[in-house]
Symmetry: C2
């Protein structure tokens, strides 16, 4: 119906529809610990697609380019087909998660300045952290890194404010980037699956699932994020 499946991941399916475009379908699945924890949460795909749409539209409106084109249906977005970089870009505002294993910081401590980290998307190597010299070895040039860093920092400023207006604290998030006709765009999604946000210092993101909360709690939190973001962008 949507043409050929280009790629199916743990939470999304990409279909090729016409040249240069893809349909990105959000599944209702949720996974953690490299796929070892896995569940289906009815409605999750729709919520994540809507949050992604809100965020990417907000970024576009503010001069940050993403792959988002338009909504297709409840769980499906039309996006530009990118040539993806094999990296994940993490941006952190608050000391949490794996950063606590790297630096002597208190959990929940506000960072003096945002911290950006690059990870190599490799199941085989376990997604190791890379520095800019490693990226150069992978063929990502200095100017590409500079642009990706700049876009990530601008995204962080825009979204920190958006989340603040929505009564949420943006703890950290993950971006993926790709090339489209020699422009570098944000790809993938932006949802509570790959950002951390706190509402009165309690998570409203995938950490709930990681912590063993049931699907009702998880979907309620995701819906709360959606409701709050919808209110501030409209």
């Amino acid at each position: 119906m949507e043409g050929n499946v280009v790629r199916e991941g743990k939470t999304k399916i990409l279909y090729k529809e016409k040249p240069g475009e893809l349909i990105m379908e959000f599944k209702d699945s949720i996974t953690a610990m490299n796929g070892r924890l896995k569940e289906t949460i009815p409605g999750k795909g729709e919520v994540c697609s809507k949050i992604t749409e809100i965020i990417f539209s907000h970024l576009e409106k503010n001069g940050v380019n993403t792959h988002f084109i338009s909504r297709v249906s409840e769980k499906k977005l039309r996006v530009k087909e990118l040539e993806m970089y094999p990296i994940e870009v993490v941006c952190r505002n608050i000391a949490f998660g794996s950063l606590l294993k790297r630096l002597p910081l208190r959990s929940g401590e506000e960072l003096k300045r945002p911290v950006i980290e690059f990870y190599y998307k490799s199941d085989e190597l376990g997604d190791p952290m890379l520095n800019e010299d490693h990226l150069a070895i992978l063929g990502v040039s200095e100017s590409e890194i500079k642009e990706i860093r700049g876009t990530t920092l601008k995204t962080n400023e825009l979204l920190k404010e958006l989340f603040r207006n929505a009564g949420l604290k943006l703890v950290d998030f993950k971006l993926e980037f790709g090339k489209y006709k020699s422009n570098i765009l944000i790809g993938d999604e932006f949802s509570p699956d790959n950002f951390r946000a706190w509402l009165e210092n309690r998570p409203v993101d995938k950490d709930l699932f990681r912590m063993g909360e049931g699907r009702d709690t998880v979907i309620k939190a995701y819906l709360e994020v959606l409701k709050r973001l919808e209110k501030v962008v409209n």
Copy 2:
């Protein structure tokens, strides 16, 4: 006799003698796997102190500042007392060791360009790799990082050539840096304990010990390195 012990590590003892100076004594011990492998190799301290002296003298002669002042006795060097950065700086020319767990490279492959990595010296956290944003959080400024990177690259160029002249291939090495009267100097040691070098593609460094070779093989290799370096600097 040498005054107070300032610090005793796995392979060295630092004594305070007079203000601004330390005596660095090289022990005969060798350790690996965070101290779980440990042995004593008579003569090793002397050899490592001599290799360190040769390397640091060569660097000084070529405009790279180190903490080395003079030799005191067989196993002891007089050095400037630095305020150390809590980081290890690794420079790599050839894909080997932990780099193979981070990037999809062939073991022994020549890198397109040197790779520099920073590690946080923390037993508690297991010496994690840091990027420049993490270093900023630790209080190392951008200009300090730039200077440390520059010194590391210059050291690499000088020593790659020195080792090449000695018939050895400099695979990678670790430096530590510290501040002395607002200058950033190379501290610690430079020996087969913390560089990798290959003679006809076989290690002549601590990898021999890590691989389970006996002390005779290890000390023979260290002496071979010393002999070859002595020849090319004299």
